[in-house]
Amino acid sequence: MTRTALVTGASRGIGRAVVDRLLADGVRVCGLYRTEGDAARLLAKELDSASPKGLTLRCDVSSEEQVGQAVARCAEEFGGIDILINNAGVATFAMLDNLDLAQWESTFATNVTGPYLVTRAALPHLRPGSSVVTVTSGLGITGAPGKTHYAASKAALIGFTKALSREVGRRGVRVNAVAPGIIETEMSAAGLNPELRARYEGQCALGRIGQPPELAEVVAFLADPRSSYVNGQTLMVDGGM
């Protein structure tokens, strides 16, 4: 039977790479995106022509109403969900004394409330043997200056993952997370000046910045029955930091 997946933040970066990886495994994919533009159009084109045909929906994961509609539509068209990838997230930089409440709250709205809303909406549609994979961040464990809001939001997802894994394990639903280090995406490494890039590369034992497909492979593994006894975990994918 064809497995089905719901991927948030699907039009760019790691989310997009995850979509491509799941398609390569023959998974039927529903991709959610928030921002209209070329990336969303390309995603829609790819999912539309994929076999089996996918689904592309605009959805702000911090909106309860939009999430409810998008997940219901996905579940109805696909007849159930086997894989949920909570990937949508935002990252900004601000030292705490300049971090206003609006920025703090918007970070948590997308990074934490988003996965909560999407997972809660998807849960009734998750079949036994299904897998939830949430993209958190190595910064949620290590922290970094200017990242209190981001690091706190990503640390929250680690707790969310652990707790939910204990809630739904008996139903045959596994819940895990990946914690990327520095990855070549618009949100992370792209646009770095050469000095900063060299410094980040030097922090990684493999001496380089990770590529989105490398993250996608780990997400795909956690989504796959091959990881059927991996549960409640946050797996670091940082090349050794």
């Binding site: 495994d25 549960n231 670091m236 994918v237």
Partner: protein
Amino acid sequence: MTGLDLTGKTALVTGGTRGIGRATALTLARHGATVTAVGAGPSAAAEKLADELKALSDKHTVAFADVSDPTEVAALAEQAGALDVVVNNAGVISSASVLDLELDEWHRVLDTNLTSMFLVVRSVLPRLRDNASIINITSAVAWVGMPDRAHYTAAKAGVHGLTRSLCKELGPRHIRVNSVAPGIVETDQVAGLTPEQRVRYAGLAALGRLGKPDDIADAVLFLAGDLAGFVNGALLYVDGGI
């Protein structure tokens, strides 16, 4: 999932004739790797594995070595030749309260579970190919602790310390080093459980079951190959969610 094929790669699995090591040797072999599975010495289990590996292909080997003996490990490394995958799995379990724990037993458990991994890595290092993957098997209990297992958990926690430093040291050579921490797995080591204990242990995992050797082998398979190319220095628990 696609992309797990290890054809053209060679693998060494210590403690490879029973339990998790046996499942790992067979899984790697089924995915195309040329496998040397190492046992402590000739046994019925080793013969059985040799037969099963032979049924897959003539290219696999069952070898014998005391992996806590530097001379035997050096000979083993020579026999194994160039390697892409090293699974440090050999280990012993032991039970004794600290007061009753003799120094000899402490050394035996540390030597087999931890020093052996150092010896194997040191001996195979000159023969490791680019993009090689080393996987050290630790144990989830090392991060929890339990009575009568001070020596065992100290060794297993040490394993991940070894992983962390090796990942930094060998990363620049494009060699990845990771740890896998099994939870409670159905091996000879837990075969003696009473039915009540089995139920209790199974209930510790959120998934409500004990692990199978193949569960661990699948995680090792993923880390062994190029799909995990950016996973380095990681600790992957395979415990069902404890």
